[in-house]
Symmetry: D2
Subunit: 305 residues, 4 copies
């Protein structure tokens, strides 16, 4: 199966002020991402508030992104939900409309406690889009699914034919590397934490990844991989340190889903509010957010339109 | 606002073998519950695999239960989901079709960390069914929302007009009692753990409750309250101990959602399988389940048709 | 084996201002506790900052309490520590000096994950004081030992001859009751949460218990049992509700170890500061603590000298 | 303050079969470690079962290691315990006997919840050995002290004069790097996870570290740093992958404290059993352990005497 090379962006979902999904910004959004070096999008995931959307909204968004995608720009649709039937229907839809791939995280409810439960869940969804690669989205801090990923690979191997790999959003580089080494790299291990691309490259991974801060800091994150690949360790370190400085700022503003989304407005692409139960950035917080970004020279280095 | 007196049942959702929702058993189900002393149902909750259903399935189920409900039999619709818009739509639907009340647990994703997030979530849903009482379903073991419930009551008081009370499915009788004492019993505190009805009655609570094992052991659970109210402590203790013995059995079979649902078949109302990611009771397990129930004389004491 | 009837107090450890252990208040302390209806003490436990004491300090305290104990006043010595050798030595010492019994909680490090580990730990300690009853102190919120207690009883039964029972400081009244019912009450189940004595009595338990707020509110807590036993439910409820109101206050002041200890000074028995890493009540906090206690009429109902 | 360059070993504590501490192997142990490239030892830590030792045993061990230490071989004494007085006494002792440094992890009980509690704990201990560097041992998986380490550095800076740095045994390379960047590297950030030395080197860290598998695999772990420093990325990757394969094996045998300790016997230095509540490797397990190690050619690559 093809392996993803380069960084995929996890876009935010644009909303109108009244809370309806807003499809209008998507063509400009896709174009901007590609211009800054991103190779595609992983839509309706956690950054995209996918779990907070109705199934209809998720399908409309998928259609809009597929329609807006420039040439060679991959659209991966996150179809995970607490309802496996719903997820399977979303998988079928993704295949039908021409998405490049699909993905799903483990449901947060009921909490998955055993590999077999997870495999059954994956199997039922992945079989709805047999022509597309399926990526398991491992993000246990969000759903409590602290399961051993090598065991997952062993369990799906030979059972889920379109299982492509894992979007690995967890801190254990040891486990990441063990997954990467499984059957000499049989599965595609997408690095999922923008703060540690460089260390992961050193270990042999991170040539492909999915980022959340790539929405506004993608140029620098792509730059880490480029610098590493041309052997310029100092440049790679500088870009990784800088990218951590950006992440330090969003940690002061309720993380990427809330704080990061507001940064999009500050760089020129207003994507509107977050959906309840997220607490939106207040006007006072926005002033402070801009200030902290200015202090690290962010607006001279961020993504460009 | 009216307070619920007696026990409400949290029914399982019937499925056909192919996994489709099966509405056929519902009239007989409702009749059986009332015959055994239950005062209503809390549908599409955790026992009902509500989170594992599509919005359409949830609406069809609500309609079927409202249609099947005997006189004076309350139908409360759990409308909680990760998507507040979906939940609000389900709340509107519940009011339109004539449900008695609605409820919602905190979403498991994103994990609720602050009272204000929870209040906003509740507010948006409850306002979709302004004519119905709204019950917050507190079950932190399932969704990680370990928030202080007295603080919740203080926060909704004066802000969510149709907030009626809490279905309290947590072990802290201290907190339960503090909620009960809030403004001399302003809110309806529904006891939500069948294993501890008697101790809760002693403290002054549990005159109303919502049970999961009431589906098959309702007669005995109702009996605890009756015995207590007529001053027969020994009978109440015997029934509570017996009810714990029943719960001991289901703990060996992956709990009420899986093991309890299969008991329904054993007492004469086959409700079909569970939905993925639940792991269904195997035929071998079913034999063992029946055996353990026979050992405690269950089939002589269980709910009757 | 004899079962404990009535409430045992978990005393605070007195310190001088310089942080040394102060044995002087102990005779007056013991006398006061007995006067208010307490049947003994469980020393060097969590309220007593036992884990924060050196082995020598623990032995001196045990000696002082045994020496000060009035007739028929039980001294149970908590000997648990991360070092099983140390604990065994403390157990031997307790027996040698004439303590009534011993107890130990599971060590917080290494975190106990299996019953067999816990049994081995208990066995090694209990065998150091073969003539004394051993109580396992179950307080998983403090040490992470969330193990099933019925399984523990099954495992020690026939293996640890002086295993007497459990000081059960956890919210599950279901599990408490199941332990109580084990072999028709073979083991002594001491209730360990002052906020829920009444509900536990209703279920058939709580005739014996170990309290932390009994240090200053013992008269009322003893009163709950007395009222229940004479059939006065309303009085029992009033006293239980009142006792919860007292606990509500200490929850505002970092709990019983810190806030409760300072209450002792306010009722006339200054026991000095807490040991690091506890953060002592500041003078400003003390003023506020007194105020909140006055608002519930505490000084008219608290323990008397 | 001097920064540690190279890897420090966290040795196991030798016991006789009867469970007494055995000081005899220590000279040979120290010599072997130095021969394989280790720069010192961090004794009485988690690998050394320090929390399971009496204070006297800890002091005797410290004396034996200081006496056995070859020239330029650092002895750092872990003095942490639940009793800050005990820890301070151990710190004083360490300084008196000529140890190179001291360290302490946060106590597992009471669980540390705030930076100020931790700083007070550190301050009280570190001031007992003012002439020695103090290292905070961050291992939240063991003691629940999930506190932000940059905040700790800010809090001790200017307040604890001999605070030298952190032994960082946690997965977040992002936080590790932020600590490393604090005031341009003011504090010594010792890498504490043998499975991720290479990625950490890439980010600019890990020139100093403390390992647990260095006891038997130190040569290869030291080799990672050497390969990296001479620019041989492929060799560094091979050694890191190999070191992970070794760790994979000990994960099958209850981790390093239990499984790793038994490996010492297999390479020729029998250190005896573990202390309760650890469950010792059985003879059958030992056969299997040897087999799994042979399968990865361990005995051709392990530490040499």
């Amino acid at each position: 199966m093809e392996k993803i090379i380069g960084l995929i962006d996890a876009p935010f979902t644009p909303f109108y002020e009244n809370g309806d999904v807003n499809l209008e910004p998507i063509p400009a959004y896709a174009k901007m991402l590609q211009k800054n070096g991103l190779k595609g999008v992983f839509i309706n995931g956690s950054s995209g508030e996918g779990y907070m959307l109705t199934p209809e909204e998720r399908m409309r968004l998928a259609e809009a992104w597929v329609a807006a995608a420039p040439k060679d720009f991959k659209v991966i649709v996150h179809v995970g939900s607490c309802c496996v039937r719903e997820s399977r229907r979303l998988a079928e839809h993704a295949q039908k409309i021409g998405a490049w791939g699909i993905g799903a995280m483990a449901p947060p409810f009921p909490k998955i406690g055993r590999i077999e439960e997870l495999v059954k869940y994956i199997e039922e969804i992945a079989s709805g889009a047999p022509a597309l690669p399926f990526y398991y989205y491992h993000i246990p801090a969000f759903n409590g699914a602290y399961l051993p990923m090598v065991k997952l690979l062993e369990a799906v191997d030979g059972r889920v034919p379109n299982f492509a790999g894992i979007k690995y959003t967890f801190e254990s580089m040891y486990e990441y590397n063990q997954c990467r080494l499984y059957k000499n790299g049989k599965y595609d291990m997408l690095h999922g934490q923008d703060e540690t691309i460089l260390p992961c490259l050193a270990m042999g991974g991170a040539q492909g990844g999915i980022g959340g801060t790539t929405n506004y800091n993608g140029k620098n994150l792509v730059g880490i991989i480029e610098a590493w690949n041309r052997g310029d360790l100092e440049a790679a370190r500088a870009l990784q340190n800088y990218s951590q400085a950006v992440i330090n700022v969003i940690c002061h503003f309720r993380g990427n889903i809330v704080g990061g989304k507001r940064i999009m407005k500050l760089i020129g692409l207003d994507l509107g509010p977050n959906r309840t139960p997220f607490q939106n950035i207040t006007p006072e917080e926005e002033v402070q957010l801009r200030k902290e970004l200015e202090e690290i020279g962010f607006f001279q280095h961020c993504n460009e339109f």
